[in-house]
Symmetry: C2
Subunit: 355 residues, 2 copies
Amino acid sequence: VQHPRSTLWWSSQRDVFILDQTRLPFSIDTVPLCSAEDAARAIETMQVRGAPLIGITAAFGLALQARHQADDASLQRAAETLAHTRPTAINLRWALARVMRAVEAVSTEERAERAWQQAVLMHDEEILHCARIGEHGGALIADIARNKRSRVHVLTHCNAGWLATLRWGTALAPIYHAHQQGIDVHVWVDETRPRNQGAQLTAWELQQAGVACTIVVDNAGGHLMQHGEVDLVIVGSDRTTRTGDVCNKIGTYLKALAAKDNDVPFYAALPSSTIDWSLCDGVREIPIEERDANEVHFVAGEHGPARVTPIDSIAANYAFDVTPARLVTGIITERGVHAATEHSLALAYPEFAHG
Amino acid sequence: VQHPRSTLWWSSQRDVFILDQTRLPFSIDTVPLCSAEDAARAIETMQVRGAPLIGITAAFGLALQARHQADDASLQRAAETLAHTRPTAINLRWALARVMRAVEAVSTEERAERAWQQAVLMHDEEILHCARIGEHGGALIADIARNKRSRVHVLTHCNAGWLATLRWGTALAPIYHAHQQGIDVHVWVDETRPRNQGAQLTAWELQQAGVACTIVVDNAGGHLMQHGEVDLVIVGSDRTTRTGDVCNKIGTYLKALAAKDNDVPFYAALPSSTIDWSLCDGVREIPIEERDANEVHFVAGEHGPARVTPIDSIAANYAFDVTPARLVTGIITERGVHAATEHSLALAYPEFAHG
């Protein structure tokens, strides 16, 4: 097994592997995926996470199922199992629908090959989309650097880097792009409780890439913005409505409010696979996953989980929140930077908007 | 040593003891304070914390010093040592000034007794003030309960309960008062990273008192408010300006923004010892303590500190932020519920406002 430079890869024999993200940064382990069930388990246990990566992992899960048994019932069952792993990220449903459409068009014998090729195509597309997001968002950072003539400070929440995708990332792609162009960029990394994806994944990624970064608790962003320490906020998204409401990791909404209150631009970076064209009102319509309370009770540390709450205490664990479009300065996709409005997104994606 | 039902107490021989709050809820230990240095160390290491309690602990520290050596130079030195332990909580400076004024009025021989009596007086006053805050704030909760005719949900950040004071607390006093009156009240307890005073102190306190509560990560409050799950927010304060800007645990500002955005009333509860009558602009003028980055790198768990960030990563640790008065619905003090304006606070405290 090769050393991971990606989050999901395959051998020439088409054995699929993922990087186990539950143990990062303390241990770098790879896990083979041999079936749709393996893929579903990897998504459910968050060995893979991040909306774009979840989608591609599900696509490969369905391709693995097609290799084993390619009749309609078998594929439908596998697609349902995969779809039920996590409720919020729309990319999961989008990816499964695309693979299903591809295989339904061909005979049972051709489906294994067809599903595999579709998954690989989507994998390649997603990388390309992230690279484009990097270019479009990188231009925003370059603009600020030109005007400011000193270090640009970006705040990000959760992990929307290459670990959440396949390469580059969404929210981090513009940062990597700017860094590669020699722009002096520094990232405030929100810890991102309860699972600490900021402290444990984003900080690790940026450190590896040589990008300056400072971890802060999720509580700190407002204070930093009040004191002019943040030039822009960039986050990813797990589902964005056609009207520009951005669902992302719990706590994103609080940062968007602080950005608005301090005139700091707030951007969401996402591939179009994250846009749910059927939804209009994010706060009312996007299902918010409620996860195991033990993610709050126990913190994942270097030496395993450590209890941080009193015995017998009760905790609730909402995984995402929705930032209303009125708080979003712009949405960065593979096609450019758009206003967070139905009109602007429809102009950029006429084929979906009028679909 | 008696089992602590308070945060600071003394024997008939005037030996002073505190509850060590750094190990709660996993271990209940008491620590003797024999000198001003002991008191300074207890404040600095956060064995005692919470603005009102810090003030009273400093007062007893100075009283212990007066018992050892009561000349001006010795007391000045001790007062300076105590004042330098923590920069943000104004109660510390207020308490030291009051004891100094009391001892300066009498001869060196009388100072030990005078300082002790002053500290005890302030201790008793602070308890009375917290009880009054409970009554005034409890009436707000009772009003909501009457209108709503179902469970009242209060969100609080950090710990401003009896552990932060001597009894009752500030933000929690209204909750205890309402609970004792039979009102069905439930508390959303913000975890409060990095030191987890919510998860480890507030949840423990409320649990002991039989008040229903649910721990959530600091990121969750906005989502809860968007979905009508919070009827009011009550927090404490470490320093409040005469204009009503509220400095409190880092992250409070983000909750105030979310409260405003969702029409949820946001109250700060504080004894008048927390008001800094000399300050006008909280964001610009209140010094914000920056603490050791290891509080972010290591989480205090049941079995000691657990590292949660990558090795060699950098973290910053701002301990407080300032919520501008425009986001504060009201300030609850021992004298009532006041608008967060210079006019309203001056009406309630004419002796300080015109001092």
